[in-house]
């Protein structure tokens, strides 16, 4: 299966999500706009996983919520199989809601504590397939629960009786029962222990192989994203910094931010512990007052006057990577980047 040849399942064009922020000290001073997602474009093809990485506040959660219709975009277009869809989920075609599902970050908080697991998992069917008989709903619930490694005995229990890893399996069962074509996973493993995290990542990969499901996998853990994604999108302050095939992004990142991000990940190898890592200095600028030009320039070691002049476009490099930087970095022979492990 080569997912790269198909037409896009989901296309996002110049999506913007801005939130008005009241100026609390001056009641009549008017509102300022917080640019949470600021002109993001990408596509997702059937059967592929797009990883979205970035630090907290980069807009990755807002973006995934906007895709599913939980946040209303300020502007931009979302296309499903080439057809534009309503950006608010109340006006969305119910068929689309069936095809696009979401898995949330906090596995326990995302399940209603007063609903039995059977009701939680069956809810997408009872909502989107009103014609389906009770017997078939139950049969499909049983089938999906078994696939998730949960037994029939669990069905009448409540969420608090399960561990975090089990709750996440229930969350995945709920997302998959309506047989969606795309599942948006917002930090699905970051609340889980390492050994459980590996179980969930493997489960999602297996499910994708079995059903041809496409995934958008939002996470801040670059190593996990590498294991599950085909392509990776790097975000910073609401904008796309780099979008590339997994192998080329991790092996030869072009954007200085991607490089800094990769260099900052601590490796589980004590013999490398005293290595100096090229870390980013400073803090994230306020999203209420974005820097002019490239938003990363205030922390970038390659920035010059030109970076402040205009916003860099997402240019295509020789290896197919799309990079929003006027000084993209390339590895020259013999010189490896810090991100590579030096």
């Amino acid at each position: 299966m080569n997912p790269l040849n198909d037409t896009p399942l989901l296309s996002v064009e110049n999506l913007q999500v801005h939130f008005p922020v009241a100026n609390s000290r001056l009641p009549f001073a008017g509102k300022r706009m917080l640019h949470a997602v600021d002109g993001v474009s990408f596509e997702v093809r059937p059967g592929e996983t797009l990883g979205i990485v970035g630090e907290s506040g980069c807009g990755k959660s807002t973006l995934s919520r906007a895709l599913i219709g939980l946040n209303t975009p300020t502007s931009g277009r979302i296309l499903w199989r080439g057809r534009e869809v309503a950006t608010s989920n109340t006006r969305r075609d119910p068929q689309l809601c069936k095809s696009m599902q979401m898995i949330f970050q906090n596995p326990i908080a995302s399940l209603d504590p007063r609903m039995t697991i059977e009701r939680v998992v069956a809810e997408p069917l009872t909502t989107h397939c009103p014609g389906m008989g009770a017997a078939e709903v139950r049969e499909r619930v049983l089938r999906i629960m078994e696939r998730m490694g949960l037994s029939q005995a669990h069905l009448q229990r409540y969420p608090h009786e399960f561990s975090g890893g089990q709750c996440q399996r229930i969350g995945i069962a709920r997302a998959l029962i309506s047989e969606p074509e795309l599942v948006i996973c917002d930090e699905p493993v970051s609340a889980l222990d390492v050994s459980i995290q590996a179980q969930i990542v493997n489960l999602l990969k297996d499910l994708q192989r079995e059903t041809g499901l496409a995934l958008i996998f939002v996470a801040h853990d670059l190593a996990v994203v590498k294991y599950i994604s085909h392509r990776v999108l790097v975000m910073y302050l609401g904008r796309v910094m780099e979008l590339a095939d997994k192998h080329s992004l991790y092996a030869s990142p072009h954007h200085p931010y991607t490089r800094a991000l990769l260099a900052a990940v601590p490796r589980p190898d004590p013999s490398r512990q005293r290595q100096v890592r090229a870390t980013l200095g400073g803090d994230l600028p306020s999203p209420l007052a974005l820097p002019s030009g490239c938003v990363f320039r205030t922390r970038c070691s390659h920035a010059d006057d030109a970076c402040a002049q205009q916003r860099p476009a997402l240019d295509v490099m020789d290896d197919g990577a799309r990079v929003a930087c006027i000084h993209p970095q390339f590895d020259t022979a013999g010189e490896k980047v810090a991100a590579h492990g030096g």
Partner: protein
């Protein structure tokens, strides 16, 4: 490479047979920590790793006398030869925050939202050092600058909500280091932070340790952070120590099935990421249940009959490189999977 446990000078921290039990409202007993022992020398870093519920945080809280009223501690926890556990409150207060300081996991909730950073920082100094407010202020500003908070003189007058998570964690570290403690206990100091900020904090802790000779107990579930900072590593599971040795030993030659499983389950940035991760089957133990055998036995792929009934003792042994280390497992090391992956290498 021999472990720091071989260091001839007397250790700064000695914990022996520490156990923590909680009584629940319905009369049950939860054994959060069972028979944990370790030592820490000046200028060294001990990493305590384990998954949630393994008892790593409760070990630290018990040492500092910070258990809630329904928690009971037994065993010995000596700082500089004096037992912290049997100490009177007033005496303990002279050590806590002064000689032994703690960084808590969540900087947003560990600081008082009603007080400025300055008030919270100078409080420590005024209590332990009996110096004037003015002197305390100057010292607090200097420490904030040392942890690289820009514009410290102005920002120290702000409230916690005006800082980002990374900045607050620096404030916590600055506060813990104000009295230049001998021992710093850091409970998941970087868990709430982004990787780039985490890298800054790791470098900061490393620099401060080399400048001040502070000994650090680092509690974390992140093996990458452990490898970046620690000299010794203690791996906990179900309230017990599974394996204890130098970081070098634990990462390159793990001898306990749980440590091996934990390292295998990690996604590695340097792999090509196309192979499935090796997960540990099953779920972590719930804290309430009584454990007769090895706590890890229900999830251990190599468990034998005796593992479920007989608890393996934590025994010292000498490994092939001549290093001293400890493990709690019935299985002979030779039976564990050979060719264990060395962290990071492909």
């Amino acid at each position: 490479m021999s472990g720091t446990t071989m260091n001839p000078t007397s250790p700064l921290i000695e914990v022996e047979h520490l156990a923590v039990r909680f009584t629940t409202p319905n009369g049950g007993v939860v054994e959060a920590v069972r028979d944990v022992s370790f030592t820490l020398h000046k200028g060294k870093t001990l990493g305590i790793v384990g998954e949630s519920g393994s008892g790593k945080s409760q070990t630290a809280l018990a040492m500092m006398g910070l258990l809630p009223p329904n928690g009971a501690v037994s065993g010995v926890a000596r700082y500089d030869g004096r037992d912290l556990l049997g100490m009177k409150h007033a005496e303990l207060n002279r050590i806590r925050g002064d000689r032994v300081a703690m960084i808590f996991q969540d900087p947003m909730t560990a600081l008082n939202p009603f007080l400025t950073i300055e008030r919270q920082m100078t409080e420590v100094l005024q209590l332990h050092r009996k110096i004037s407010r003015k002197q305390a202020f100057e010292q607090a500003v200097a420490m904030c600058e040392a942890v690289r908070i820009a514009d410290a003189r102005r920002r120290i007058k702000m409230y916690p909500h005006e800082f980002s998570g990374g900045m607050l964690q620096r404030v916590m570290i600055a506060m813990a280091l104000l009295c230049e403690p001998d021992v710093l206990i850091a409970d998941e100091p970087t868990t709430a932070l982004d990787v780039t900020v985490q890298a800054q904090i790791i470098e900061l802790l490393r620099d401060l340790q080399s400048d001040l000779g502070t000994a650090i107990i680092l509690i974390t579930h992140d093996m990458g952070v452990v490898a970046s900072l620690c000299d010794d590593v203690m791996v906990m599971y179900g309230g017990r120590t599974m394996e204890y040795g130098t970081a070098e030993q634990i990462f390159s030659q793990p001898t306990h099935p749980y440590t091996i499983g934990l390292l295998d389950a990690l996604p590695h940035l340097d792999d090509d990421g196309d192979v499935p991760l090796r997960a540990i089957a099953g779920n972590p133990p719930s804290a309430g249940g009584a454990v007769h055998g090895c706590a890890f036995a229900p999830r251990c792929a190599m468990a034998e009959e005796q593992c479920a009934s007989v608890r393996p003792e934590l025994l010292a042994f000498t490994d092939t490189d001549g290093g001293q280390r400890q493990r709690a497992c019935h299985l002979p090391i030779a039976e564990l999977r050979p060719g264990v992956r060395v962290g990071g290498a492909v």
